[in-house]
């Protein structure tokens, strides 16, 4: 557990509807010493307790992002642990899984300890994902047991997929002994290399090298086979095509232990956004045609997808002023994910919160069932990691007002519904009325 002082003042969240994995009910929530001490209607607030108004709001376990690029160490001009976790808190997240494609990559105990140290006192819990292979080079296994001993529960070479099927199989076999999950960025390099956008009508017309849908799908199919054979758990990162989703749906029906996250760009934006060559719309996996967007939305509705993950990927402005093919892929996501889900998905808030809180917490091993304190039901005795969301409030995305050090949001000027009002991290109100408190 990161953050929060030794004791925090008593706090009452008043007037909201508590929504968690057990259901929804009108209740106030009383918090003391970082813990939920009472949940019920019309609670008596102790003298001196701070009141957070939750009238008309949903009070839920804090959101958990399975896919955050904090960029530190190595790219501090784009983001730091401090700025990234501030963005997380403002987005309602009380925990983020930090991707290991930093410089140096998070492939050793020392590098993991370094991020843990950087995250001390930050505005959200930082769970580190470790690299599967040394240097993310895809050649030999990183010291996964050493990293697991430091609490790493998710391993990934994200930014790249593990290209060698043999090495991936070995990693999965090894992972079964550690009880960890392997996150795969599905991209077969022999099909995708050099590609800058989805291959199809738009790439042909714009004259840009494309990455075909099957570059993702062949690796999904391969890893399903490897998971089935080894019993190792695979978590598919940011799936983006109808074909991938179909493969996952069938594998799960067969009882294969795979999970899948989907990222907001893939259910809110289509390939046509790239028509003006603006690199703010460049992301990996790339934006896809409407038929894929529809499949992503269907997967979120029917339970094929386990989580919405932000793939928050800050880049310094000058890198997004490069020509489309030279610019790095990635978009900011932490402060817009919840609102995009509320605005763009025709799903009840309970379902959206499941996808953004307790389900990802379970995949990352951060939930109470795995000894963690994220995503758990809002009940007496639970650690007070909470977010308070006004599901009907509207706001307009202003890139300059975001907490990230970078500005690369593709949603600039978009008016969204659903606003994070308060975020409580281990009993400390780190965001109050949409303002970070430190």
């Amino acid at each position: 557990m990161t953050a929060s002082g030794p004791t925090t003042p008593e706090l009452i969240v008043r007037g909201g509807t508590v929504v968690d994995a057990t259901g929804a009910r009108r209740a106030d929530v009383l918090v003391a010493d970082g813990t939920v001490v009472a949940v019920g209607e019309g609670l008596e607030a102790p003298a001196g307790a701070r009141t957070l108004d939750a009238d008309g709001c949903v009070v839920a376990p804090g959101l958990v992002d399975l896919h955050t690029h904090l960029r530190e160490p190595g790219r501090e001009e784009a983001e730091t642990v401090e700025s990234g976790t501030r963005a997380a808190a403002l987005g309602g997240f009380t925990a983020v899984v930090a991707m290991p494609n930093t410089d140096p990559p998070l492939d050793s105990a020392e590098s993991v300890r370094n991020v843990h140290a950087l995250a001390r006192g930050s505005l959200a819990q930082v769970a580190v994902a470790g690299a599967i292979t040394v240097g993310r080079a895809g050649e030999r296994l990183a010291p996964m047991a050493e990293l697991a001993a430091l609490g790493v529960r998710l391993f990934t070479d994200d930014g790249d997929g593990v290209q060698s099927a043999g090495l991936m199989r070995r990693a999965l076999q090894y992972a079964t002994g550690l009880g960890v999950v392997l996150g795969q960025h599905c991209e077969d390099r022999s099909l995708a290399a050099g590609g800058t956008m989805h291959e199809g009508a738009w790439s042909s017309r714009l004259g840009l090298p494309g990455m075909p849908a099957e570059a993702e799908e062949v690796m999904v199919a391969r890893d399903i086979a490897l998971s089935r054979a080894t019993g190792g758990r695979v978590h598919f990162l940011h799936l983006s095509t109808a074909g991938s989703i179909d493969l996952v749906r069938r594998a799960r029906a067969d009882g294969v232990q795979v999970t899948a996250e989907l990222a907001p760009p893939h259910f809110t934006l289509t390939i046509g956004c790239t028509s003006g060559y603006d690199p703010v719309f460049k992301v990996n996996p790339p934006l896809r045609p409407q038929s894929d967007v529809d499949a992503v939305k269907a997967a979120l509705a029917d339970g094929t997808a386990d989580a919405i993950a932000t793939d928050h990927a800050p880049h310094a402005p000058e890198l997004k002023d490069l020509p489309f093919d030279e610019a790095p892929p990635g978009m900011l996501g932490l402060q817009t994910a919840l609102a995009l889900a509320v605005t763009e998905l025709d799903l009840p808030i309970e379902r959206i919160l499941a996808l953004l809180s307790w389900q990802p917490a379970a995949i990352a091993g951060l939930d109470p069932a795995h000894g963690g304190c994220q995503g758990g039901p809002v009940t007496e005795g639970g650690v007070a990691n909470l977010c308070v969301v006004d599901p009907t409030a509207t706001w307009t995305v202003d890139p300059t007002a975001l907490a990230s050090r970078s500005r690369n949001t593709p949603y600039a000027g978009r008016t969204l519904t659903g606003r994070v009002r308060h975020t409580i991290l281990a009993g400390e109100p780190v965001v109050v009325d949409a303002e970070a408190q430190r």
Binding site: A201, S204, G210, G276, Y277, D321, L322, P323
Partner: protein, 321 residues
């Protein structure tokens, strides 16, 4: 004349009427080019910059000659093809150029879309795409049209001769900005465009392309071709890997002397250059009277004068003629 767009970024920017205007104005400037002193004051006091991030002596010379023949001040900005390597962002470069003060910038870049981005960043400055990645090279397509119209003869000032004209484009269409511009240009004037290439050298999708047919058999198409345009196999763009060997490519898709004989007698042979003789076109074919490759280069200057005139010199047509 129909209103001309602010920038020329893609052949999609020009409708049939605007294309006809370009060809008509080109006639005037071609006449200027034949004078003893081929210079007119049309763009006196205007500044035109060529901004070539990718080497191209031919295209740059053509544009600069065009601007100078119209008495514009010409600035030439050469840069490496990668702005990352240069350490200056593309946007900074453009803002520098803009601060100096330009009426037009002519942009070539190895990355598709750069002219479109530049057009978003400049004010009161026309942007001309002189070739961007695999995307577009509109002035090349326009000079092809002009060359074809000239070759068809008959003193036709309009573009009616293009209606139903059978145009065959052969070669590496996948990686060709020239092909993308040509296809749009010919189709806009009512020509029937046939693409001939191995499947690996076609774009991944032809959805929405105004193409009448696609063939993998050049011999089958030659007999019903009025204009054949050959594209260079872009070895530097890695197209080598798209066909097993050059020999195999040449056997299937080169315009050899034997194949040239299968063309109708009036057919025109075009090549945007630079030619690789012996690969996509046999040396003796390039020398045939029906090959208008040298005319294409000569017409390039007049066409580019017309484009600059239409972008910058509204209302001064009389001065040119």
């Amino acid at each position: 004349m129909s209103p001309f767009p602010t920038h020329l970024l893609s052949m999609d920017d020009l409708d049939a009427e605007s294309i006809a205007d370009v060809l008509r104005v080109t006639d005037s400037f071609a006449e200027v080019g034949r004078r003893a002193n081929p210079k007119v004051p049309t763009l006196r006091g205007r500044t035109v910059a060529t901004l070539f991030f990718e080497d191209s002596t031919r295209t740059r010379m053509s544009f600069e000659t065009a601007a100078k023949r119209m008495s514009a001040d010409v600035l030439s900005f050469a840069a490496g093809s990668s702005s990352v390597k240069k350490g200056e962002s593309l946007r900074d470069t453009i803002e520098t150029i803009q601060a100096i003060g330009m009426d037009a910038v002519i942009v070539r870049h190895s990355s598709a879309g750069v002219p479109a981005r530049v057009a978003r960043w400049v004010d009161h400055c026309a942007v001309v795409n002189a070739g961007d990645g695999w995307h577009q090279h509109p002035t090349q397509a326009l000079l092809d049209l002009y060359t074809v119209r000239q070759s068809l003869g008959g003193g036709d000032e309009g573009t009616d001769a293009f209606r139903g004209l059978r145009v065959t484009i052969v070669g590496d269409i996948r990686h060709s900005r020239v092909a993308r511009s040509q296809i749009t240009a010919y189709a806009a004037l009512g020509a029937e465009v046939t693409l001939v290439a191995p499947a690996t050298l076609l774009p991944p999708s032809l959805e929405g392309w105004p193409v009448a047919s696609v063939s993998h058999d050049l011999d089958a198409v030659l007999g019903r071709t009025d204009v054949i345009s050959l594209l260079r196999l872009q070895a530097e763009r890695g197209s080598g890997a798209y066909v097993p060997t050059m020999r195999e490519y040449t056997a299937g898709y080169a315009l050899t002397a034997r194949r040239a004989l299968q063309l109708p007698p009036e057919a025109i042979i075009l090549h945007p250059g630079p030619m690789v003789r012996g690969v996509e076109i046999a040396s003796e074919v390039a020398e045939l009277p029906s090959a208008r490759i040298t005319d294409q280069v000569g017409n390039g200057v007049a066409v580019r004068m017309a484009v600059l005139f239409l972008l910058l010199g509204h209302g001064a047509l009389e001065a040119a003629a």
